[in-house]
């Protein structure tokens, strides 16, 4: 009995870090969202769900939600096509494979602002190398960040920076498929395409599903990349929910609405995480 009490104290102590690092900021922002009116950050007494109601009645909230949902789905879909394709190529034996692997993962581990600056430079309308190549095909774009092209450019950069995560997961998944399955399929005379459909894909199913959920959650909540590239603009053409919440808080200094918006994002996250638990069964 005493032993178990001690165990519980130790267990609790190991999770103490959650209090200053996560619980305090999250609950403090919850309490601010219920008290603060528009005023500059200071609480003005309890206002109940008022801030939440005005967020849900705000057209800009819905526009941001839709843009974020579409943008994250499209980028994740392309990340999967590119990431899986490259993983399958990397899984072949060839000279310099270790080097190629290492180099391909780089975009995922460099600072996001470096990725953003680099692409701004490559796509620069006067000096950009990539812009120059595109022009040689007779395509002339006045700016890659105008209202017409910004969503496309943003998608391109996001795919480039984050596909390596998919590659990493698929490579890990490929290693867990027993080699005998391929040999058995070969003996049965299955072609490479059929081996891919009947051995590789089923073997990767759970990995792909978990990676898909994680990527969707992360892209939906992505703030730094779109913020540095477009600030959600022009106007609000590339504004997702995190940028909406950030602008409310730090540009309009409307702490009540800002915290309410960020808590709605948290709620969406919790729902998506519950789906993740269902699938992953941790």
């Amino acid at each position: 009995m005493k032993e178990r009490g001690l165990n519980n104290v130790l267990l609790a102590s190991s999770l103490l870090f959650l209090i200053p690092l996560l619980i305090v900021p999250i609950f403090y922002s919850l309490s601010v969202s219920l008290q603060s009116k528009a005023a500059l950050g200071r609480e003005s007494g309890w206002v109940g769900p008022e801030n939440y109601i005005s967020i849900l009645g705000n057209q800009e909230f819905w526009t941001s939600l839709v843009f974020g949902a579409v943008w994250s789905s499209v980028t994740v879909a392309i990340q999967f096509i590119v990431g899986t394709g490259i993983a399958l190529a990397l899984n072949q034996q060839f000279k310099g494979r270790a080097f190629a692997r290492a180099f391909l993962f780089l975009p995922y581990v460099i600072p996001t602002t470096v990725a953003a600056g680099l692409w701004k430079w490559l796509l620069h309308e006067n000096y950009g190398l990539l812009n120059y190549y595109v022009q040689m095909f007779g395509i002339k774009v006045s700016s890659w960040w105008n209202i017409e092209y910004a969503p496309l450019s943003l998608t391109l950069v996001a795919v480039w920076e984050f596909f390596p995560f998919v590659t990493l997961c698929v490579l890990a998944g490929l290693q867990s498929i027993p080699q005998e399955l391929y040999e058995a399929a070969k003996v049965d005379g299955a072609s490479a395409v059929r081996r891919f459909i009947h051995v590789t894909l089923p073997g990767l199913r759970s990995v792909l599903f978990v990676a898909l959920l994680l990527r969707i959650i992360w892209m939906f909540n992505k703030f730094d990349l779109p913020w540095v590239l477009t600030k959600g603009g022009p106007i609000i053409a590339t504004q997702n929910l995190p940028i909406f919440a950030y602008r409310l808080t730090f540009q309009n200094f409307n702490m009540g609405m800002g915290t309410a918006a960020s808590n709605i994002i948290m709620l969406i996250l919790i729902v998506m995480t519950l789906v993740y638990f269902r699938v992953y069964r941790v």
Partner: protein
Amino acid sequence: MVSFPLLAMFLGSVKPDGEIITATPAFFPHQLTLDHYTFAFRSMPLDSFFRNSIIVATLVMAFSLAVSAYAAYILTRFAARGIGFITKVLVLFYMVPDIALVIGFYLVLDRIGLLNSYAGLVLGQSAISVPFCVWLLWGYFKGIPIDLDEAAMVDGASRIQTLARIILPIAIPALFSTGVFSFVLSWNEYTLASTLMIAEDLKTLPVGIALLTREGAYWGEIIAISSVATIPAFIVIAFAMRYLVEGLSAGAVKG
């Protein structure tokens, strides 16, 4: 194709201005020069960007390793029942969006007067780093047989002594990789760093790069600094990536 932008960046950083600010840029430089590196380091407030980044990333790494080693050890040794619930809590906290963290920390740090302080930013970035480190170390500590602990404790060692003298020395490779990851997490981090550190002399390197990019004038310098800022990424790839792949493989088998 995929590596083209990074190669263009490294090659571009050693081109003279005439080959960068031109309507007909080329992939390979005709002339090599280190002008952009010397100019950037001599004439821009880079030393404070670098100093702040190194200080914050080192503190985040030290704090994350200490907290997560303790947490992961206790969790693998004591949490028989309730482990599923604890895992879920940790995963959920690991997923908390940057935007919720930055708003929450801004309000809390403002309240207690820790905006524009190393302590405040270290705390904020640790909220991202610690759950990830616990997850990585947990996988490793699970593989260390409990017999080792028991043998040490029979010899009269306390829990903390067992952790310090038996477990941690065995776990040095894992601690090294985990440390590299948390250092780079902080080194790369933009959202919290740009919001919690507003004073000019407290900005970190990613924030500095974003500011220069927004001005959009010194492209040669921007890509030179960016090239230097990616050095820790190479260290991750060289020394720590394999560890992450192994962790993912183990997870993949489980799921």
